[in-house]
């Protein structure tokens, strides 16, 4: 598990606050393809993919709580959904450590699907008296599609922001050793 240093914690807090404000102040007001992007599941999934399940879950909980507070929503609703996303993305890192170029897109789409569908299910469970309309399904699908499109960029930004605070990745260290003239284990042998 990646140790949570004060620097990483500060960066996570800054990331969460900035993301929520950016989402509320700008991104939610920009309509694309009849819907708007939702940065929260993308950022939470990206954090989970970079720091692991436990920090990812905590980050998801905190971001969800902040969103519920800032938007005067039912407290705990977003937290519950985002905990699942952060934890799942972190577990993906811990168990599979996927390295493909399309991983952020797939994870972003899946995270958005969990967020939108999970939130809708929770709302229905909490007594929203509305039929499951085609409009809702279309909206969910459009959001998933839009988020999948931007998930690569979001992941890159999150990665760039968190990387200085992360402990050095063994893979990166190995790669640097080869490219900077260091001896490879084979040449040593």
């Amino acid at each position: 598990m990646i140790p949570i240093t004060p620097q990483l914690l500060a960066r996570l807090v800054a990331l969460g606050v900035t993301m929520v404000i950016l989402q509320i102040a700008a991104v939610s007001q920009i309509e694309l393809f009849g819907t708007n992007a939702d940065l929260s599941p993308l950022v939470i999934a990206s954090v989970g993919l970079m720091v692991g399940s436990l920090p990812g879950a905590v980050f998801g909980f905190c971001v969800g709580l902040f969103i519920d507070l800032a938007l005067v929503q039912t407290l705990g609703l977003s937290s519950l959904v985002y905990v699942a996303i952060g934890y799942w993305a972190g577990r993906l890192l811990e168990l599979r450590d996927p390295q493909g170029a399309l991983v952020p897109f797939a994870v972003g789409a899946a995270a958005t699907a969990v967020a939108t569908i999970g939130y809708s299910v929770m709302e229905f469970l909490l007594g929203v008296d509305a039929p499951v309309s085609f409009l809702l399904v279309r909206e969910i699908l459009a959001t998933i599609l839009l988020n999948a499109l931007i998930s690569g960029v979001v992941y890159a930004i999150v990665r760039r922001w968190l990387l200085p605070a992360l402990p050095e990745d063994p893979r990166r260290r190995r790669r640097r050793a080869y490219t900077t003239g260091g001896l490879s284990p084979l040449s040593r042998a």
Binding site: M1, I21, A26, E31, L54, A70, G76, S79, V83
Partner: protein, 287 residues
């Protein structure tokens, strides 16, 4: 060590889920003035100025993205509206054409009734080809010998005389128009009975002239010229055209009250806009 990590992870996860559920339950359970609601209001008070500032700062970004989105939407709408416009235009054209065809067919029907053309074996035909030249000399119709259409059969439109069949095949025929210089029609002025021959002047296809009137034949503009039918008392010199089919209206008279007077006639039938015609198939001089 591993077990401890797993246990810790699960415990934290359980704690987070439980915390969320407790928050949910507590939030639902308390009134609007409760503790959680108060905290929420406090956070909103703190965050709202930041949000406002961020909103203002990010307005250009929003506008830019919104402009791009609006432009894309507008482009999409333009495409859609163009498609709609084209469809409506097509409908309008189809409707107008159908209305015109309807008028013409109704006119043909009236012509049959009013002038007793039903005895002449009228065969309705659609004009399927037209001479593109400015001479307006002939049209192609979709009825031929298979329908009883033969050369020298007169052709009429709802407005009046059009011409005569010059060539007929099994399923189509060429109609030489009244405005062709080879056509000559025995005619008379409906109001006065003055007789003559209707021909066309070379180079003026829309201006027919009535020749062979005498100095005593008084013709005035506005009078109507119709077919004369057979004037001879013998069967050897019969007209191709039945009597009393309207040809046109007198527009002017050159050298009036002389033997050289020329009566100018504007044809009723618009030779450029023929859609339907009738071929009179029971005339005696067909070959």
């Amino acid at each position: 060590m591993y077990d401890k990590t797993v246990r810790r992870r699960r415990a934290v996860l359980g704690l987070l889920v439980a915390g969320s559920l407790i928050l949910l339950t507590a939030y639902f359970g308390e009134s609007a003035g409760g503790g959680l609601h108060s905290v929420q209001r406090g956070v909103v008070e703190v965050v709202s100025p930041i949000q406002e500032g961020a909103s203002r700062a990010l307005k250009p970004v929003r506008d830019l993205v919104g402009w791009v989105g609006d432009t894309i939407d507008a482009k999409g709408e333009v495409k859609q509206l163009r498609a709609e416009r084209n469809a409506l235009r097509e409908q309008a054209v189809t409707g107008a054409a159908a209305a015109r065809e309807n008028d013409q067919l109704r006119g043909l029907l009236n012509l049959d009734k009013a002038r007793g053309l039903s005895d002449e074996g009228p065969v309705a035909a659609r004009v399927i080809g037209q001479d593109p030249s400015v001479w307006w000399s002939q049209v192609l119709i979709n009825k031929g010998t298979g329908d009883g259409v033969l050369p020298n059969h007169p052709v009429v439109s709802p407005e009046g005389l059009v011409g005569v069949v010059s060539t007929a095949t099994s399923n189509s025929a060429i109609v030489t128009l009244l405005t062709d210089h080879r056509t000559a029609v025995g005619a008379r002025v409906a109001e006065s009975g003055v007789g003559g021959v209707i021909e066309v002047e070379a180079g003026r296809p829309n201006d027919l002239v009535m020749r062979f009137t005498t100095r005593n034949d008084e013709v005035t503009p506005g009078q109507t010229v119709i077919t004369a039918g057979t004037q001879s008392r013998t069967d050897r010199v019969t007209s191709l055209y039945p009597p009393r089919i309207p040809i046109g209206r007198v527009t002017r008279v050159d050298d009036p009250a002389t033997d050289d007077q020329l009566v100018h006639v504007r044809p009723f039938a618009n030779m450029r806009r023929l859609d339907f015609v009738q071929v009179l198939t029971r005339t005696r001089n067909a070959t």
